[in-house]
Subunit: 75 residues, 2 copies
């Protein structure tokens, strides 16, 4: 997600459009990206550390974006 | 997220780039969108139903995308 101090024109456009479309009560909208990584092998601490590094160096632009890594069971 | 049967060239490009960058063991990457909505007032069942409808009719393109709605405490 874009850092809170970075302007998010896409999110603002969505937020302004909502009342026109009949959706009230949304104070703020931020739009961001989401990556689903399918990991081979065990998801141990080392693998998680690598994924964190991958997110930090490659998937996110940490000058303007924050990121979080979450583990989910695959369906 | 794009539905599993829909081609995701962005995700594929990321997946192919990872080994070159020294990150092995990622079987698949899918890229999608994420919206953070800041909700005014109580997040009761009616509000959640409205947000679900908003996602379905406006935020996601349900022809090619799946979506999930998750509730998180604001920081």
């Amino acid at each position: 997600m874009l850092k809170p101090e970075i302007l998010d024109p896409q999110g603002q456009a969505v937020q302004r459009a909502l009342p026109r479309l009949g959706f009230e009560g949304i104070a703020d909208v931020r739009q961001g990206k989401r990556f689903e990584l399918d990991v081979e092998g065990p998801l141990d601490e080392a693998a998680l550390a690598r994924i964190h590094e991958m997110a930090e160096t490659f998937l996110a632009n940490t000058v303007i974006e924050d990121f979080t890594v979450k583990v989910e069971e695959s369906k």
